[in-house]
């Protein structure tokens, strides 16, 4: 602030007391001086020499347009150097960054940040699950079960159904091979020995 607004009432008061004590002024004169002081006190806020709210508003708007891709419905109001922000930002980082930017604008006393952060966009639809048809599966199942003669396997509608017997230690090996064939599902009805 180029103009010290708090100094004026004090100076006037000292001036007034001096007059009362040493010049023995009349009550009318006292009233006149008092009125003058009150009038000046009322007019003091206009003594500010910092940026006006309109200037701040303009600066905030310029900063806002510079980051227009980061936010939607971004609005700002300025009252006595206090900037109030509304709108929604794409993420917390851009929201915080803008608040910092606004705080750095000359004349801004504080920022009331009522803006929000948009929920993240839904994740893109994952690629559809690849499921092989019965012919591919049957050929793959034949290869996968060849070394396990006690295992019987059938394929229907891309679902592999296992019956028969298998050693517990061999089960993961067989399963790894079958899962890699990209079936829809594996029904394991094997008896584990």
């Amino acid at each position: 602030m180029g103009c010290n607004v708090n100094a004026y009432p004090a100076i006037l008061l000292i001036h007034l007391l001096t007059k009362i004590n040493f010049m023995r002024v009349s009550f009318a004169r006292f009233a006149f001086v008092f009125t003058t002081m009150a009038f000046m006190a009322l007019s003091l806020p206009s003594c500010k020499s910092g940026p006006k709210d309109e200037d701040i508003q303009k600066a905030v708007s310029e900063k806002a347009s510079a980051i227009s891709t980061d936010a939607t419905d971004l609005t700002s109001t300025v009252t006595d150097g206090v900037v109030t922000l509304t709108g929604s930002f794409k993420d917390a980082t851009s929201k915080d960054a803008f608040e910092t930017t606004v705080k750095a604008i000359p004349g801004v006393k504080s920022v009331v940040d009522n803006s929000t952060v948009m929920p993240p966009p839904p994740a893109p639809e994952p690629a559809p699950v690849v499921i092989n048809g019965d012919d591919v599966l049957k050929s793959g199942v034949t290869d996968a079960t060849k070394d396990f003669p006690t295992v019987k396997a059938s394929v229907q509608d891309s679902i592999i159904t296992l019956t028969g017997e298998i050693k517990k230690s061999s089960l993961p090996k067989l399963m790894m091979s079958l899962h890699a064939l990209k079936p829809k599902k594996i029904n394991n009805q094997l008896t584990i020995k």
Partner: protein
């Protein structure tokens, strides 16, 4: 989402182990997990967790197609049969004629991957043909 909760330990382990292109999808009450594990050990550990959550793979609510990362030509692989020789075949399929054998514990050189099940390899003796990938572990 319930299936992702059931197999959460498995999914967390896959992410922590650096499985690339990890995709987790749920469809018709079956969870599909695909991706490439950096090593055969990682794949084995994921299968161990699967076996722990769903003992003996009975539930039929998961299809886990985790292969080992695409090995480049020239990669060496160990033959991991139980004890017998590994058949080297003329083409990718058990109906194909056997053109060679790779001994248990021997090393073969990867030439190319026809698919996840059949790899074209060259044995220590110089025989070229297709071997079933279940019995090959990239070194």
């Amino acid at each position: 989402m319930a299936l992702q909760d059931k197999y959460k330990e498995l999914l967390d382990a896959a992410r922590a182990a650096g499985v690339v292109n990890l995709q987790v999808r749920e469809q018709d009450n079956v969870l599909y997990i695909t991706g490439q594990a950096p090593t055969g050990d990682v794949k084995d550990s994921l299968w161990n967790i699967y076996n722990k959550i769903d003992p003996d793979f009975r539930a039929g609510d998961l299809v886990m197609d985790i292969n080992t990362a695409d090995s480049v030509a020239g990669t060496k692989a160990t033959v991991t049969t139980d004890s017998s020789n590994l058949n080297i075949r003329k083409g990718p399929g058990t109906d194909q004629p056997i053109v060679g054998k790779a001994a248990h514990g021997s090393t073969v050189t990867l030439i190319s991957k026809t698919n996840e099940e059949w790899w074209l390899v060259k044995t220590e003796k110089g025989e070229e043909g297709y071997a079933y990938a279940r019995y090959l572990r990239p070194q």
